[in-house]
Subunit: 376 residues, 2 copies
């Protein structure tokens, strides 16, 4: 099967994303050809390291490349100051210098944490990403957003830091739980909804082979990276247009906060799926788009097995006013005004500033009134 390469053009910080099946087995060869130095640290989590680390170490040994493994706990809790400090301490103890390289092998948590560490150790050290989840391959592999969480919210501390190379092994995704694959798929759909109506139509036809792992999977991931790269290239530091990538995320983040980031109830991509439907419904309410559009999007996400409305979240949710607080806390707030990504049609998303809080609240009240908590 063909390997696709997407180049993210950011002048001196440009890099390639190599996408294809079984790349992890060839990764050492790709890395060896990219590496200017011989000192290498690899940050991964306990789950991923058990599956891939030994093979990885063995094949690097063939190239006489030593490796310093740094294994952290799996899960969102590792995106914290204490774990960041531990990772940095391991890197410094191994005496890595600016020209050396840190590899992130794992999902979004590992990528965000490792990228942040790489960005601040000695004010920036080489960084290669090997994302092992669909979400990480289509989202965090492009654009250099790195960071950790604090008690005040998610991703509130971090840097923009671009990797030197991303290796996305599409076969690794076969071992993902279906629910996680679906959640990553929501981000793929998002690119269609932002400004690629043709891609959305293609997904409506081809989503099954994206899921089953055909050439269409490589294609869908490559297209997603390409679309995201185009936005990031025009606005690396999110001064404007890049905010479009937050389609579905303002509502989605509020729902994640509302469920206390309980992965049994809601995971990020599911929040984004519901959030995208809400963003489209809210656009209809503001007379910006037609209700047919909402139905079409809801149908596709539902067919792919994703939740599409607040009522699909198990357990009780806070009231509209509490959700409004979470929305206002979201970092996409500019000087107190609410900024939303809304749409005028299929693949016609835009940044709406100064959205009236009262409208959002009324809309949420309506959505929540239909929410029946089956566990009560």
């Amino acid at each position: 099967m063909k390997t696709e390469t997407v180049t993210v053009n950011l002048n001196k910080r440009s890099y390639d994303i190599v996408i294809g099946p079984k790349l992890i087995n060839k990764a050492t060869k790709i890395i060896a050809s990219h590496l200017p130095s011989t000192r290498l640290a690899i940050v991964t989590d306990a789950n991923v390291s058990a599956i891939y680390l030994p093979t990885f170490q063995e094949s690097l040994a063939e190239y006489d490349i030593g490796i310093i493994p740094v294994v952290v706990d799996a899960g969102e809790k590792s995106k914290s100051f204490p774990v960041l400090e531990t990772v940095i301490d391991s890197i410094l103890a191994a005496k890595l210098e600016r020209g050396d390289t840190i590899i992130a092998l794992g999902g979004g948590v590992i990528g965000d944490l490792t990228g942040f560490a790489a960005g601040i150790v000695r004010r920036g050290i080489g960084f290669i990403q090997i994302p092992t989840s669909l979400l990480a391959q289509v989202d965090s592999s492009v654009g250099g957003k790195t960071g950790i969480n604090t008690t005040h919210g998610k991703n509130l501390v971090g840097v923009f830091y671009q990797p030197k190379l991303v290796i996305a092994d599409t076969a690794v995704l076969d071992t993902l739980p279906l629910r996680e694959f679906r959640a990553g798929y929501a981000e793929i759909v998002k690119y269609g909804l932002i400004d690629q109506p043709g891609f959305f139509r293609w997904l409506e036809k081809n989503w099954r082979t994206v899921f089953s792992g055909g050439a269409e999977r490589v294609e869908a991931i490559a297209c997603s990276c390409r679309f995201k790269a185009a936005v990031v290239e025009r606005d690396e530091h999110e001064a404007g247009e890049r905010a479009l990538l937050n389609l579905g995320h303002t509502f989605g983040h509020a729902l994640e906060t509302a469920t206390g980031y309980d992965a049994e109830r809601l995971i990020h991509g599911e929040g984004v799926a519901i959030g995208m439907v809400l963003a489209h419904e809210f656009s209809v309410r503001l007379n910006l788009a037609s209700s047919d559009l909402v139905e079409r999007i809801r149908r596709h996400l539902h067919t792919a097995g994703l939740p599409t409305q607040i009522t699909h979240i198990p357990g009780s949710l806070p009231d509209a006013d509490t959700l409004m607080t979470y929305i206002a806390q979201d970092k996409k707030v500019t000087s107190g005004a609410l900024t939303f990504i809304l749409t005028r049609g299929l693949g016609q998303a835009f940044i709406a500033k100064d959205v009236p809080q009262a409208e959002v609240r009324a809309f949420l009240l309506e959505k929540l009134s239909r929410h029946i908590d089956c566990r009560r």
Copy 2:
């Protein structure tokens, strides 16, 4: 007295350094005219806040600008992960957004710590520096190096992050202990020795008025900022030429490590003064420069009250091999080879890569044999 403005040209990240006496009293007016927003945090230390914070708060109130004070302990120990986390927590608790501003009011420690916090909170938030030490005004105010220390060494974790504005009040320096003023002066001399022989000659003539606070002080600080800016503009991220600014620092840092960063024995600028003399002596030893040059530099630094040789450091020092370990640990090491800033004459410094370790060791042995520990 005239106020000087030095512009650091870094495209979108360009900023002004305003230099002159009594600027702290006018700072609020300058800030108010620069500020796009109204939320403002000010990070300072216990010593500085006692002198300047109340006045500062009062005069900002005139412009209806609220202020969130964040006061940390004075001293190098605040450049640590725990203090960084505290500062970030205060900023996030105050709900500062990307368009808001954090002011660093203090010396190098406050500037480095606050700049790092500003660079990583929400992946970058506005930052204004009001340096209150001579060292901070002529060194850390230009170039955006920020960071904290770890058990592995100084400044090993940080980012390059440029302020939006620097306000250097030259009258504030009258309250500095003489020893600290002298240490800052060593960095001023450094610019002459790197590539400004004319400036060095000017300093030989005018250093007394720089110390006493005449227009020459403003001039010397403005020149230093201008010289450093020129280097930084050509090499913002220290890929090459910027390393010249480390003249005297490789030896200097090793001596600081050797004295355990005990400020009673040696402070940074003093280490740099001795380090600059050593770098020139070492250049003579390698037949790169004449011994007259060493004498001239030693004389000027000595006249200005600075230590100029290892024997001037009180207390016992480790042996040459231990010092060699400290030198190799210094972050200016590239793939194991020793890089030094050496010189071919007055103001003719250059980056020497692959300096033989044996030569450095022999040189240090010689220097240390003359070191008599008076406290033994």
